[in-house]
Symmetry: C3
Subunit: 347 residues, 3 copies
């Protein structure tokens, strides 16, 4: 007797605009997650590394890395949203909320805000707004993502509509105030670099210099840590017959690698506060070496704050391509990530 207890995930037909999905498996994050994150990326930002540094910035404890929070929330959405995804197309309106500390319990809720069938009749695009919440139902993160999903049956009729216009980027004055710690006592010796907000200029480009080669075991450990079950990352037996002949690395792994590399030149951009947009330009595979560079797209003050300012940063990651000449997605082969975010920096 064969049961029907297991799930092969949602297809385009299974989504409807306005649908709310309470994602499974709440997760208590711990110092263990933090240590693994350090081992996976080698991140050195002082705020997340030291309880004492964090307390000097007015926080109870060292907060979890912003992208670790992102990956855990994102991972929860995968079984419901993107198990049958063909591609992760874009992000918008990402805002980090209250800090996440070891001991907090995170869960995720998504709302479907748009659906559009593709002209090929085989796939479509689903837009969701995902929210990560802590044990007190405080928002730790929200973002919009759109993803290409397979139809179960090409003959299905899909009803839906595009989402309301998305912001081109998060406006600086809408940044959560509680997402920016107090940098009045920020110690630039311990943080690793002397550069403050005033030292960065719009248009400035920073080569983060170092390269990091990725192994299969590493991205699998990371993606499982995030309880992200997307099949393309784990199953070589199936992927050997797939598009690339090999396992595809979770795009978020690239974000965290680039972010860790960006310490060299952005050591004081310790807190990511918004994700304006982003695109996984090309896939990454085990054995590739990741490099990164950043450009300062904009600067903004924070109302009523003279301790901290905001930098809007474009972070580009490449594979097997050092970034000494600041390669751009449409100009150079080898670019794999093009991310746009706001980060808080001491003044």
């Amino acid at each position: 007797m064969t049961g029907t207890k297991s799930s092969s995930g949602n297809f385009l037909e299974d989504f409807s605009v306005g649908q709310v999905l309470d994602h499974a498996t709440p997760r208590t994050v711990t110092a263990g997650d933090v240590a693994l994150y350090t081992a996976l990326y080698g991140s050195r930002f002082a705020l997340q590394s030291s309880e004492i540094f964090a307390q000097a910035c007015g926080l109870h404890q060292a907060p979890l890395d912003d992208w670790l929070v992102f990956h855990i929330v994102f991972g929860k959405t995968v079984p419901d949203i993107s198990l049958n995804a063909v591609a992760n197309l874009g992000y918008a309106e990402g805002r980090f909320g209250v800090p996440v500390y070891a001991g907090d319990t995170l869960r995720a809720v998504s709302e479907v805000i748009g659906i559009k069938e593709n002209s090929n009749g085989k796939t479509g695009v689903v837009y969701v707004r995902a929210r990560g919440l802590n044990q007190n139902s405080q928002e730790v993160l929200s973002y919009v993502r759109w993803v290409m999903v397979r139809k179960h049956d090409a003959a299905s009729v899909i009803t839906g509509h595009l989402p309301p216009d998305l912001e081109s980027h998060v406006s600086a004055d809408s940044i959560h105030a509680n997402a920016v710690p107090n940098f009045s006592n920020f110690d630039v010796t311990l943080s690793g670099e002397p550069h403050r907000w005033g030292d960065y200029a719009v248009g400035e480009q920073i080569d983060h210099m170092d390269g990091m080669t990725v192994e299969e075991a590493e991205h699998q450990l990371a993606t499982r840590l995030y309880q992200n079950t997307a099949r393309v990352h784990f199953n070589q037996f199936a992927e050997a017959q797939g598009r690339f002949g090999k396992r595809l690395i979770y795009g978020g792994h690239v974000i965290s690698l680039a972010r860790a590399l960006s310490f060299n030149g952005l050591a004081n951009a310790v807190k990511v506060v918004a994700l304006n947009g982003g695109r996984h330009v090309a896939p990454l595979f085990a054995g590739d070496t990741v490099f990164a560079w950043s450009e300062v797209l904009d600067k903004a003050e924070i109302a009523g704050r003279d301790d901290a300012g905001l930098l809007r940063l474009r972070m580009i990651a490449t594979k097997d391509l050092p970034c000494t000449t600041f390669p751009l997605p449409d100009e150079a082969d080898g670019v794999i990530l093009d991310l746009d975010m706001w980060a808080a920096v001491p003044r």
Copy 2:
């Protein structure tokens, strides 16, 4: 001057029926172990993942995954029992006791309950009952295992006898009452699936669908985390000359991989309470992809409890063989594990 301080492990001659072995290296388990376990297997069972979910089930904290407890207790027995093992032959009478929480300190004690020389005169089988204890000497696990061990000298005369008859399986009414949390407030939205005890039928088969490819670094990290020192898992220099020409993956790694995959269809079978028996049908090597399926062998109520019931589950793992046709050990190549256990499920 050459000392004799290091040990090459026990051989068949070194065991005697009734012998008690207090195993070395007590271990305080932590949130770090839990995070690594998540990263190694991607387990998503809500009870072990969320403090709040666990507290709603009447526990102080989220308990450690049952198989993590098993591996740590098992690992402690290896230096004394199975360093010179040819094969791990079987398990019986496994019972999980009080929950294990981060902060508990575990140790292990074994009693030799049977010894039998093989007719080839070179090996024999040792039967041990191993017990895992916490810092309050409460039993967290006990099980019988039998293992084929080399003789040091083929000429040795071995005295011993078989163990008393082992139970064919753990009877449902002998399950430790305190091994089953209170599922009165079990939230099937957060747990990931709606299926309750009453929804499962004896004979039902569940394909867990996903596959997980294993890397050398992963099984080595896991097996060291369990402080399991069995040589075949770690030493490629020696194994290149061995039976398989490569490192053999710890059988318990397969159990945990299959268990994590089984979330898809058994998300609410959150608590393993007994190990009825099991067999490592064939070895697993790095590069292989593990799949799994389960069959409901039996169902049982728990006396005085209307919040929870028991499912007796046969869990089969395969390598490079998807389980859509429910392959069995004696019918299909590729089966690597055949495990029989009881798990508690909300009613």
Copy 3:
């Protein structure tokens, strides 16, 4: 517009004798770091594994493994000292101070104590004394290291002088008293071996027997965990064109592997108290299998203590070379590490 925010590290010209470097990124160490360390090396020393064992030795909690402390302090010095290092040449005068516990926050400070240009005009040797401090500014470790560093410009004139004479080894009576726990209640059953201080003889050699094969993912995870950014460990794209054509494994990874293997024969040498000296004789690469053996160089009592004594141990590690014949650096190919240390052992 190209910024100059990122750093390519210090060259020989950037150092001066007497210079003090406050290294970046203080680090709160946690149970997560401890679990990862166990998973990376499989260490089984009881003092670091069990809170209860540690408390029976008069400590508040289980202390972090001494070499984990070493690696974290060392890692902090890398961006300032050895990012452009050609080779790590030696260690001296290493002393472990107060125990480090999960929850402590470590930082590192170095003083340049010697500079000497090499006759080739392209490189020189920098001598630094590094100190690791906890959140109360107590010293957890100090050691001298000398490292060959590239000049930025061969034409530069380097002024400097050799350091004051370094001790040939740490004298036993200068060992930090608080670095040796109280072994009055040391349980040799739980610790794994019966051998006490009195059972070891000067000149005794111990083959630690087992071998451990190293994977790229493992040494990268380890080295990132230590926030050690030395480029040769991570960037296959660059190293493919380098001296060896592949990534070089952090020398400290070898120390920890050998130390974990040395449990077999030195299970009761639970606390390393001094690093007398050491040399990375040859590089290790992924795929190699590490073996180890030790020789007792000396023994010493501890003034006023009848619970513990000191063993001076020479620990040799090899690659793809079992240590049954106790290979020495100048006699056998395959030796990769020659380390000299003091360890405390129960009497």
